[in-house]
């Protein structure tokens, strides 16, 4: 230590520290990871806020995301355009929400976004079926899939519209004992 880093200005680093759950060192390390995904695209000097976005294909190949069945949805939920192109801010945001120190409510918001495949702000039967098929790699028979999704909606749907709104989802997920420990990526 001792070298003054020239990647970010001090104000930028402070802003990052305020908006995310990372420390200065972690943010610099994240920048290193972001840079090594596409060294020719990502500048080392971020002091003048360059507008660089990395495509989905590069991000989902990161070792932390490679084996996750929901990796595309995760990246899409944190991208501004919804297509999965992440700027550095989105990148830091994503790992911040998935870090250990993020609170349950924040994780619930983003979990809802991730599992909402058709982005209609509701978890309808098709969303659940897609989630289940990704989870079991389509090993369940169609009847079993239908049964599980129906049971799940029956359990969690409070307003009776046979789909899960965010309120239903949040009510269900905050009682889950494993949610925080499984919805966690370490980078």
């Amino acid at each position: 230590m001792g070298n003054k880093q020239t990647i970010f200005t001090d104000e930028q680093l402070d802003a990052y520290q305020d908006c995310t759950f990372f420390t200065r060192k972690e943010i610099l390390r994240l920048h290193g990871r972001y840079h090594e995904l596409a060294p020719h695209l990502v500048p080392m000097d971020y002091t003048n806020d360059p507008d660089v976005k990395l495509p989905l294909a590069l991000i989902v190949n990161m070792p932390e995301l490679k084996e996750n069945p929901f990796r595309s949805r995760i990246v899409e939920s944190f991208s501004e355009d919804g297509e999965g192109n992440l700027s550095f801010n989105d990148f830091v945001d994503m790992f911040s929400v998935l870090s250990e120190t993020a609170p349950r409510e924040l994780k619930a918001i983003y979990a809802f976004k991730i599992y909402d495949f058709n982005t209609d702000n509701f978890l309808c039967k098709e969303d659940l079926e897609k989630t289940l098929n990704k989870l079991t790699r389509e090993e369940l028979t169609p009847e079993e899939v239908v049964l599980v999704c129906e049971k799940s909606i029956e359990e969690a749907d409070l307003d009776g519209d046979s789909k899960l709104s965010f309120a239903d989802f949040e009510n269900m997920i905050t009682r889950a004992p494993d949610f925080i420990s499984t919805f966690h990526i370490r980078i």
Binding site: P63, E64, K66, E67, N68, P69, F70, L98, A111, Y115, L128, T131, L132, L135, T136, R137, E139, L140, E144, L147, V148, K151, S152, E155, A156, F169, M172, I173, R175, A176, P177, D178, F179, T182, F183, H184, I185, R186
Partner: protein, 491 residues
């Protein structure tokens, strides 16, 4: 360390048996050199303190025996308590499927193999929940089901009674054979009791399995009933075995009286008129192999248990080889030239039998607990056997077995198995404790020879090794008036 082989009568093969002591048949039966070794109770000397460290051997033998039982109790009960905590915490089943969908994937997974395992386990978990869900929806004809269940239990009771009578009959026959001398009978008659017990143990569980098809329970409940019935079967077998053993112990004790009487005559014959009545002479050196021996009932008990465990092991391996391996070979290779599809039809590959294997382990452990006091190296032998079993069965499962058709969480009944283990622990230490407390030890073999009861060694230690005030304190503390409230407090 203690005296080496050959230095004392109890540590040496008697002259009469020396010729056959190395025969494989004798050694397989744990006679000959195997009998006069640290494997069995009879080898140990009753000298109070051994070596320059003054190691109190009889005391340590007794304490280790009692201590292992106490430690086993502690471990089993602690495991049960721990399991109960974990199961109790998962009581809230209101969002079962939702939680499974949204919280079962672990986002920390980065390794492809771990991911594969996780996918498989998630799929299995869903299938289990689906089965449970479907079970709870089934339409039931209550009266027919109840009638069938009562019928099934009646059939099972008949089986148990039949097997109990069969063992009793066989044991009486073997006692008759023993009276007439075993040499006139072939291999079957000599090993009849063990073989009948092993065969019953092989075929009755299959019978119970067929009968339980009548009952139509959820797989987990059916498994528990099956285990309960096999448990009752094995318990009956084991206790009949013990009763037979008790008869033999009494026989040996009577023999002992005769031998004691003969020994005085034999000793007198050694000195053969070279001294007058009240003069002590220098002992004439006699080779230990020539000294007449008392029948050592404790060693006999130890031998019986070791033989039982060996025959149990052999039965397991042979059943495995024939029932699983040969069957798999038959189905695989004869399928090409057979009229119906062997793999889907009658024999097909055998399913992995959870209940049978768990019970096998539990009963093996029960037998160890029973025999460990009289055959101190038995646990070590058993560790060896368990290692071999593990590799053999692992290979058998991977190459010959198919998973059970109905998927259910067998590990959910962890506490059930622990409870069975606890009951077995209690029931199997009962005979050993009974013999320690009520039967006097043999006069010329084992660490307690010469004492009136085995636990006298504790009394002796208290009196001679501890300062006198300690003895007084102990005698006050062992007042029933103090012990009873203490026990109630612990309960």
């Amino acid at each position: 360390m203690g005296k080496p082989y050959g230095s004392m009568p109890r540590k040496k093969v008697p002259r009469g048996e020396e010729g056959s002591a190395m025969d494989f048949a004798i050694l397989w039966d744990f006679g000959g050199y195997a009998q006069y070794s640290v494997l069995f109770y009879g080898y140990y000397n009753s000298q109070r303190a051994i070596g320059w460290l003054k190691f109190r051997m009889p005391l340590s033998y007794f304490l280790v025996g009692v201590g292992t039982v106490a430690y086993s109790y502690m471990v089993v009960i602690r495991t049960m308590a721990r399991n109960a905590n974990e199961e109790g915490g998962g009581d809230d089943t209101s969002f079962n499927f939702s939680w499974k969908i949204f919280t079962s994937w672990d986002y920390l997974i980065g390794n492809p193999e771990t991911a594969d395992n996780k996918f498989a386990s998630i799929t299995t978990s869903f299938k289990e929940s689906i089965v449970e869900e479907q079970e709870s929806h089934k339409d039931e004809n209550i009266h027919l089901t109840r009638f069938l269940r009562v019928l099934a239990n009646f059939l099972v009771l008949c089986c148990l009674a039949g097997s109990g009578y069969l063992i009793y009959f066989v044991v009486r026959r073997s006692q008759k054979f023993a009276l007439e001398g075993l040499e006139s009978y072939g291999w079957w008659e000599r090993n009849e009791v063990n073989m009948v017990m092993s065969l019953l143990g092989m075929f009755c569980p299959m019978l119970f399995d067929v009968i339980s098809a009548l009952e139509n329970y959820h797989p987990r409940i059916a498994l528990q009933w099956q285990l309960g019935r096999i448990f009752a079967l094995f318990l009956g077998n084991l206790y009949t075995f013990i009763i037979a053993l008790m008869d033999e112990i009494n026989l040996k004790r009577e023999e002992e009286e005769v031998v004691k009487f003969n020994m005085t005559i034999w000793e007198a014959s050694l000195y053969n008129g070279t001294l007058a009545a009240n003069v002590t002479a220098a002992p004439i050196t006699v080779d230990p192999a020539d000294v007449p021996r008392g029948p050592c009932w404790e060693t006999m008990v130890g031998q019986e248990f070791v033989r039982l465990i060996v025959s149990d092991t052999m039965t397991t391996y042979i059943t495995l080889l024939i029932g699983d391996f040969l069957r798999a070979i038959f189905v695989r290779f004869l399928n090409y030239c057979w009229c119906w599809d062997l793999e889907y039809g009658f024999p097909s590959y055998s399913e992995f039998d959870v209940s049978g294997n768990v019970l096998g382990l539990i009963f093996n452990q029960g037998m160890i607990w029973m025999g460990a006091f009289y055959a101190p190296c038995l646990p070590a032998l058993n560790v060896l056997r368990l290692h071999v079993s593990m590799y053999l069965q692992c290979w058998a499962v991977m190459s010959c077995n198919v998973p059970q058709e109905r998927v259910f969480k067998a590990s959910g009944s962890n506490n059930f198995y622990m409870a069975m283990l606890l009951v077995i622990l209690f029931l199997s230490t009962l005979p050993a404790i009974y013999t320690i407390v009520s039967i006097p030890p043999s006069f010329d073999c084992g660490p307690f020879s010469g004492k009136n009861r085995m636990f006298d060694v504790i009394q002796e230690t208290l009196q001679s090794d501890f300062p006198t005030w300690f003895g007084k304190v102990f005698s006050y503390a062992s007042n029933p008036g103090l012990i009873l409230p203490f026990i109630l407090l612990m309960v």
